[in-house]
């Protein structure tokens, strides 16, 4: 199954290159530095949250509430800046992450301790968190002039030229990659997703592991919420994060993570996120209307699944032959 994951990483990368090449042929301006920068800036939010989602899905769960958590922490921190102008940015970001961790802990508690199936628990908290965004904000958005400039600069510059936002996303990806691949607790997530009963017998604390993936996803969504305010300069109670869970799950699945658990990789997910960002940019820059985006996303998800199925069939046969 590891070979499947490895094959998928390469596969998505090849497809990514193919889309980029075709787009560049049709529309050379695709390769302009300013456009590459646009793509670079469209990926991080997705990537940050998708890293958490990858862990959740590997553990054979799902989290539908990521968009609502993102909106909630973005709104809470945005309101903090609005009502206390001059509030320093770093503690604001930390508070956003903390709030995310808290919401993730609620999800984790529901799924593990209260044994509510993840899809139902997070469907419920999706509505509940979204509703709470309106309750705390009174339905009013945080306007651009309420967001501190220091926060906005995070998604515009850094000492080495690449925006901080991109550096954050890449660091998180590397961290999750190392954690999943080389840390005992990270490996435990695969074990739990692959076979919960076997994992329990081998001494892994299944509930604690699952709880951890939800808390981590909450924290990452919370961080992404504050970064949303940085990138877009506002937070809207209805729009911020709405429907985001679908892009995140799509990127994760395209990257080769399997919803029946036990298989997936941070690198694959990162490529999946880039693929979605490149496709969306390609559609826009070639002047193909945004109308096509949804259908193309759907087609890519299905294509990725079909390829999975075909490879699995072949691997299965190869295993039979060698046996």
């Amino acid at each position: 199954m590891r070979s499947l994951a490895r094959f998928r990483e390469v596969g998505v990368l090849v497809f990514l290159a193919l889309v980029a090449a075709v787009t560049a042929l049709v529309e050379p301006r695709f390769l302009l530095p300013s456009n590459l920068r646009n793509i670079l800036l469209d990926t991080p939010l997705l990537m940050i949250v998708a890293m958490g989602m990858t862990m959740v899905i590997i553990s054979r769960n799902i989290d539908l509430s990521v968009g609502a958590m993102l909106g909630m922490s973005g709104m809470a921190v945005g309101m903090l800046f609005k009502h206390y102008p001059g509030f320093p940015v770093a503690p604001g970001v930390l508070l956003g992450i903390l709030l995310g961790l808290l919401m993730g802990a609620v999800n984790g508690t529901l799924v593990t301790w209260l044994r509510v199936p993840a899809i139902i628990a997070t469907l419920g908290t999706l509505s509940a968190y979204r509703g709470m965004i309106f309750l705390i904000s009174g339905g009013r958005q945080v306007d651009p002039n309420d967001v501190p400039l220091a926060l906005i600069r995070l998604s515009q510059t850094s000492p080495i030229g690449i925006p901080w936002l991109v550096i954050f996303a890449l660091s998180i990806t590397v961290a999750v990659y190392l954690f999943l691949g080389y840390h005992r607790r990270g490996r435990a997530i695969y074990a739990v997703g692959g076979n919960p009963e076997a994992a329990r017998l081998s001494g892994i604390r299944v509930n604690a592991t699952i709880f951890f993936t939800f808390v981590a996803t909450g924290g990452l969504s919370g961080f992404a919420g504050v970064m949303y305010a940085s990138r877009f300069g506002f937070v809207n109670p209805a729009q911020t994060g709405a429907g985001f869970e679908l892009s995140v799950i799509a990127a994760t699945v395209i990257g080769g993570t399997q919803v029946y658990g036990g298989v997936g990789s941070a690198v694959g997910t990162a490529f999946g996120c880039m693929l979605l960002a490149v496709v969306s940019n390609a559609l826009t820059i070639t002047g193909l209307s945004g109308q096509w985006q949804l259908a193309v996303y759907g087609a890519i998800i299905l294509a990725a699944l079909l390829i999975d199925s075909l490879i699995r069939g072949r691997l299965g046969r190869a295993a039979e032959e060698t046996a």
Partner: protein, 315 residues
Amino acid sequence: MRRVLSFRYLRELVVVILLPLTFLINARLSPYFLDPAYLLSDTSQYMEAGIVALALTFIIISGNIDLSVASNMALVACVTASLHARLGMPMGAAIPIGLLLGGLLGLINGLLIAGFRLPSLTVTLGTFALYRGIAQILLGDRSISRFPEWFVGMDYRMIGPVPLPLLIFLTLAILFALILHRTLVGRWLYALGANPTASRLSGVPVRRVTVSLFVFSGFCAGFAGLMMASRLNVARYDMAMGLELDAITAVVLGGTDIFGGRGTIFGTALALFLIGILRSGMGLANIKIEQQLVVIGALLIVSIALPNLLQRRRS
């Protein structure tokens, strides 16, 4: 065994108790609530979700899920409307084609799931985007509203005091309940959801049942899409957005296990009315939509978590 039984139907029991309770609270909240004519006509707002929820009850009992139903509704409505308004096809001919299309969209789901042994969650997530995406390519954000007079305003047609959509829903609910609880196919569905491997070994034609199930769900969704077009007098790519979540909420609140193997049509129907009445009551009291969201989200979680918690305490 008796103790197990009491838990088996606890979730349905919760809804049974909650329904009159909701009436009571709503009546206290707003003096405009207890009006039978209003309550009856208000059901038209959620009957499309209801029909989809009936089909989803089958799907979820069998251990699958179908996230593409609302997108299917939109695509069927948009294609049918385009056939009529753009290509000049008579509505009477366009409707059967639309229904067939609904079944076809379900067939695609079914073939991908059963034929390639892919998880229904991701397949229907893909078609969720694909189907609505095609509707969007087809219509952009234009809307089509040139329907013939006889087609539109289904929710204003009354059979006695009962609006037509409610009547259709109740008829289908009885029919579906008979299929589920009284036929071999129904038993297959439960077996499939409880233990797919065992059911395959015991002779259930797993693939055929799965494919037919999704065709059936697609067909129901197409039908619901046309009902919605009739009620709204318009077809747009964004119609029924998010309706799949409402339908799944009703199914799960009604006691169906999201992992399959148990559930009833009765529970789904009851939960559907519970949510609908709860919403309209809160709406009449001018309770903001976001507060309604919190209540329904919490209701869903509590209705499942609480029995689990109590069960765990006792064991």
